[in-house]
């Protein structure tokens, strides 16, 4: 997937400015930046929730048919329905045939297999995030976008989501873009990093380069040095 000169304005305010990035298949990208730099806006543009003003997004292979799943901000779930019903409803809404068995396997895959009949309103935050990732996986997407998936989670929940992201990438070969301001956490599983500041991509880096550059300081300190350049 290639993003070429993507620009987005809200009125006169430019929130994304000439974004140019190439997303390679099978990798996990960390989209890093402070609050308000445009990470969520960029993800919403990529997954089609927001129309951008100029530029283009070019997909490999089947072009526009490249399937994209997304978990943007909070998972949009029906609290009065079970996890199973939420997934089945999404599958039917997007015209994708998932059998009952496939839905149950997907729930097991994300670690919710034993609570498929429990109503979502009773889920913990971590369980909702895992169900949100399962929702993003409906339709067998090639790319999934996760917008701060570990927000408001405790360390146990953060670790579970991290392991799930690695599992999705390893077992399903899905390309993943994760946005976060917690570089330290992202460095534990992302393969590439895109640093954002004021609506622009200011630096791209592989994880090996990040870890070698930050040996003399903490990763967070190194992150601040990039952002404040």
């Amino acid at each position: 997937m290639k993003i070429i000169n993507l620009t987005k304005r809200f009125g006169v305010k430019k929130v994304l400015s000439d974004i140019n990035i190439t997303i390679q298949k099978g990798k996990i990208y960390g989209l890093v930046g402070n609050n308000g730099v445009g990470k969520t806006t960029l993800l919403r543009c990529i997954c089609g929730l927001l129309k951008f003003n100029s530029g283009e997004i070019i997909f490999d292979g089947d072009g526009e048919k490249t399937r994209i799943g997304a978990l943007i901000e909070t998972p949009g779930l029906f609290k009065d329905m079970t996890a199973f019903d939420n997934l089945m409803l999404k599958a039917k809404s997007i015209g994708y045939e998932h059998s009952k068995q496939e839905i149950l396997e997907l729930l097991s895959f994300v670690g919710l297999g034993d609570i498929d009949k429990k109503k979502v309103g009773k889920f913990s935050m971590g369980m909702k995030q895992r169900l949100g990732i399962a929702m993003a996986l409906i339709g067998n997407p090639e790319v999934i976008l996760l917008d701060e998936p570990t927000n408001s989670l405790d360390p146990q929940g953060i670790m579970e989501i991290r392991n799930l992201i690695l599992k999705v990438n390893a077992e399903r070969g899905v390309t993943i873009i994760v946005s976060s301001h917690a570089l330290d956490e992202l460095s534990k599983y992302a393969t590439d990093f895109l640093f954002m500041k004021k609506g622009k991509i200011i630096k791209e880096m592989k994880v090996e380069e990040l870890l070698s550059q930050s040996t003399n300081s903490s990763i967070d300190e190194y992150y601040l040095s990039i952002i404040n350049e």
Partner: protein, 198 residues
């Protein structure tokens, strides 16, 4: 023959505004927006609202029948007293269902724009209770003498159908109102849905 007490209209406004905005207010729309057929999405809400209206009117008629049997009052069609036939009564009920469905389509359209049930509820309740008569008075200034703007609105037609059996001309006006409001609202909702961001 009972007069319209506004209860069915109120039920439609409350239920459809909540139902039509639920996907937007809860964030569920983010899960399906890119991949869904947007016209089918809007049309399915219209069909579901129609089914709700059918059930509502049938329940209301059943309730009126029970009251009539208990109190022998004029809650329902009485062939000895009312001057219309049972066939005309059925047509009248069908038109009423159509008009409530047209009302639902307007609610769906406003819900697609506003995305919050509170805004939709406030608008329609305010219109129903306070604003409609003032609005009709203003619009009547632009109408030909003897022609009432209310004859071209959903609420105006509901009151007219309920108060009288209606001539063939009245029924034609109501059917045109049903079809035109439904088509414009569905297409309008589809256009807004395609252009909005979520």
């Amino acid at each position: 023959m009972s007069r319209s007490d506004g209860i069915a209209e109120l039920c439609v406004i409350i239920f459809v505004s909540y139902f039509a905005t639920k996907d937007y207010s809860g964030g569920y729309i983010k899960n399906i927006y890119k991949s869904m057929n947007k016209f089918n999405y809007i049309f399915s809400k219209y069909i579901y609202s129609f089914l709700f209206v059918v059930v509502l009117v049938v329940v209301k008629m059943a309730f009126a029948l029970i009251l009539h049997l208990l109190f022998a009052n004029e809650y329902i069609y009485n062939p000895l007293k009312d001057s219309f036939t049972i066939g005309e009564y059925i047509v009248n009920r069908l038109i009423y269902i159509g008009l409530l469905t047209a009302l639902s389509s307007l609610i769906i359209f406003l819900s697609t724009i506003a995305k919050k049930s509170s805004i939709v509820l406030i608008f329609f309740l305010a219109y129903l209770m306070f604003l409609s008569s003032a609005f009709y008075s203003v619009m009547n200034i632009f109408m030909k003498t003897g022609v009432e703007f209310a004859n071209y609105t959903v609420f105006g037609n509901i009151q007219r159908i309920y108060n009288t059996m209606g001539s063939v001309a009245d029924i034609k006006k109501a059917v045109i109102c049903i079809v035109s409001y439904s088509i414009v609202s569905i297409i309008g909702s589809w256009v807004v849905l395609k252009k909005k961001s979520y």
